[in-house]
């Protein structure tokens, strides 16, 4: 971090003195501006806000620590970010049709969002039928995964799956790979949502094995993938959940880095070498519309991680120091009122992520604030990325805002604020203990309420909501994207038939083995999840077994 500049050391020149005088005389010159993270924003930044002497140490060059200007030498100039849109709706066959369409258009990376019933750790025959497939694809078995990925070469297609603990979707995919003769060593992709801590404090979209069990399973998962699926990213530390739940951008970055440190420390406590697992750690962030604040958040986070991995975790391999992240434009900023305005919001959010140096990007559909996004909305979201990349030429220069007096100063200020919050977590005994004690949830709740009050008081403008309201023409709205009930009914019936026809003995044996592993720290629980998937066990059966053995997580009351 740059040392704070002592203004007395640098005399104000004549020209600046004149500007100050003129500025002070203008209407509105006393307007105070504070960003979402609580940092005061000055009306002008000058060379005195930036200690150029520390340029090498604090910025360096792209691809060089501390990576403030980007983790790779070429950044987007050489290879642009990966365009990774989240998809998932309906049955595995519905998903497959959509996926093949996207691959035919040239995508090389795919994503899979499961139905919320999957997040809850239950099978479709235990679910409310009305909800099945309305927010993601219903995948409960290896056969379902096989159907979903029909015609997809697993050795050539990177797949990011929203796959919370105990990672049954990856287990199903590994089972499919074995059937097809694809070596596990060729499989690439990411276990999104593997960060149980952010789920626990924020959006709760997983089935809530109690904290100690979730911690154990994550460690087993990282260990298993390191050894047997070495190109897979088993750890995605998620900042999106905390920020969407209301944490400020600085708090969200602080909680995410603290969670990453906790997870890394847990791996090291198992005897793992940091350079064996850190190169496969990735991050996943929300990008709000607070444009410069988000850019500074990412630049500061990258710098902190480079230092933490080397100095604190002792990593020696530069690949361990690189802060690889996926960004998703924030749905929280989108409005139901005058929804086409959301196209402009998403473009600004996406630009903040691009200037922040992200590695992959999902742009939200403008109609997300109305319903599960339609194909029409999703197409505009994809084209927003295409326009920013190929029409606006945002990729021509690496870290184009680097050296801006404001951006560099703000990066330093955000870094200081992130470090301050990280210290609070540290003082509580690290992220696991901080989450267990509830202080993280409390901070998030307070920040969420503070922001809500700013919107309700009009201090924070939200166009179409608390300002510039207009009568709306709803005739142009797209029909809702909902799965075909008949197809879902057939999917459910076929699932019931499958369950009834399985060799019960093999299923029971695999679940018994899984239960045994849960109670024996010497065994790898995720390895047993994979075996269970291959034996024909369902997602719900695997989750139920682990819930029974490891306990169901409690949920916090209102704070």
């Amino acid at each position: 971090m740059n040392k704070p500049i002592d203004e007395k050391l640098l005399a104000i020149g004549e020209a600046e003195a004149q500007w100050r005088k003129e500025y002070a005389g203008q209407i509105g010159s006393d307007r105070q501006v504070t960003n979402r993270s609580g940092i005061d924003i000055a009306p002008l930044y000058t060379p005195r806000d930036w200690d150029a002497a520390q340029h090498e140490e604090n910025l360096g060059y792209p691809g060089q620590p501390p990576y403030t200007r980007g983790i790779y030498a070429t950044m987007h100039r050489g290879r642009t970010w990966t365009q990774r849109q989240l998809i998932g709706l309906g049955t595995p066959a519905d998903y497959n049709a959509r996926l093949l369409g996207i691959l035919a258009q040239g995508a090389t990376a795919v994503s899979l969002i499961p139905c919320n019933s999957v997040y809850r750790g239950i099978d479709m025959d235990e679910s409310h039928f009305e909800l099945l497939g309305t927010c993601g694809t219903v995948i409960n078995t290896a056969d379902h995964m096989d159907r979903a990925l029909d015609g997809v070469d697993l050795a050539r297609t990177s797949c990011a799956m929203n796959d919370p603990s105990p990672f049954t979707l990856l287990a199903f995919m590994l089972a499919v790979a074995r059937r097809r003769g694809t070596p596990w060593t060729a499989i690439t992709g990411t276990s999104n949502q593997s960060d149980y801590l952010s789920h626990y404090v924020a959006n709760h979209m997983f089935f809530r094995i109690a904290l100690p069990g979730a911690r154990r399973i994550l460690g087993d998962h990282i260990d298993f993938c390191n050894r047997l699926v070495p190109k897979w990213n088993p750890m995605s530390v998620v900042g999106q959940h905390t920020q969407q739940a209301g944490a400020t951008p600085a708090e969200s970055m602080a909680f995410t880095l603290s969670a990453a440190i906790q997870n890394a420390q847990d791996c090291m406590d198992r005897g793992m070498d940091p350079d064996a697992f850190l190169p496969r750690f990735t991050f996943f962030f929300d990008i709000s519309i607070s444009f410069f604040e988000e850019i500074a958040k990412f630049r500061a986070g990258r710098r902190i991680w480079a230092r933490v991995t080397r100095e604190r975790l002792g990593a020696k391999d530069p690949r361990s120091w690189r802060f690889k992240f996926h960004g998703q434009t924030s749905g929280v900023d989108l409005t139901r009122q005058q929804p086409l305005n959301n196209i402009a919001r998403v473009a600004v959010q996406a630009m903040a992520g691009i200037f922040g140096g992200l590695q992959s990007l999902h742009t939200d559909a403008f109609d997300e604030a109305l319903s599960t996004p339609t194909e029409f909305g999703a197409r505009i979201a994809v084209n927003t990325q295409n326009i920013l990349r190929e029409e606006a030429h945002l990729t021509d220069v690496i870290d184009p805002l680097g050296g801006s007096f404001y951006v560099e100063r703000l990066t330093d200020r955000m870094e200081a604020e992130i470090l301050r919050v990280m210290q609070i977590v540290e003082d509580a005994g690290g992220m696991y203990k901080a989450v267990e004690s509830g202080i993280v949830q409390k901070m998030i709740g307070e920040s969420a309420s503070r922001f809500q009050r700013k919107v309700e008081s009009g201090e924070q403008t939200v166009v179409g909501v608390n300002a510039y309201r207009a009568a709306e023409d709803r005739t142009a709205r797209q029909p809702l994207a909902r799965p075909d009930p008949a197809a879902m009914r057939a999917h459910l019936e076929s699932f019931r038939t499958f369950k009834a026809g399985r060799p019960a003995q093999a299923v029971n044996k695999a679940l018994d083995e899984l239960a045994r592993a849960a109670n024996d720290p010497k065994l790898n629980v995720f390895g047993k999840v994979v075996e269970a998937a291959e034996a024909g066990c369902t997602h719900g059966e695997i989750c139920a077994t682990l819930r029974r053995e490891l306990g169901f997580g409690h949920v916090q009351a209102l704070v």
């Binding site: 139905c115 809850r120 909800l131 009351a557 209102l558």
Partner: protein, 138 residues
């Protein structure tokens, strides 16, 4: 008699995004109401049981990811449980097509994103005397 409205704020179904339900619960509490808050994923039977035991005036259901599609099931369960005098209010991401379906099922009102705590609290304050009166005469 205590005239403070008594409100249950909860989520049914599978979604766990609880920023909305937490903010509304805290806001109504700050507005002087008696608020019973539950974490997400409550079973419909649990909501009916809680509403009965706590004798609430209003049930607020928060929905972000299509969980409102099972609110008609809740309405049915409330009727079966004899709770015909409780007002059910839904808040969150509810498409226009679904709003009419919810109103037809007996939901009192749907609040969309952008609704303020003051609007929600004002509405609950307005309807509570009527709910109490009907309960007394039932």
């Amino acid at each position: 008699m205590d005239i403070r409205p008594k409100v249950l704020i909860t989520k049914i179904g599978f979604d766990g995004h609880d920023r909305g339900s937490r903010i509304v619960a805290a806001g109504l509490r700050d507005a002087g109401m008696e608020v019973i808050y539950t974490p997400p994923w409550q079973e419909i039977v649990t909501v009916v049981k809680l509403a009965t035991e706590e004798d609430v005036d209003v049930i607020g259901i928060s929905s972000l990811a299509t969980d409102h599609l099972i609110v008609p099931k809740l309405m049915e369960a409330l009727r079966e449980g004899g709770l015909t005098d409780v007002a059910v209010v839904v808040g969150g991401i509810v498409p226009d097509e679904d709003e009419q379906m919810l109103l037809d099922a007996g939901v009192a009102r749907v609040f969309h994103p952008g609704a303020t705590i003051a609007e929600i609290a004002g509405y609950i304050n307005d309807i509570t005397p009527g709910i109490r009166a009907r309960r007394l005469t039932a």
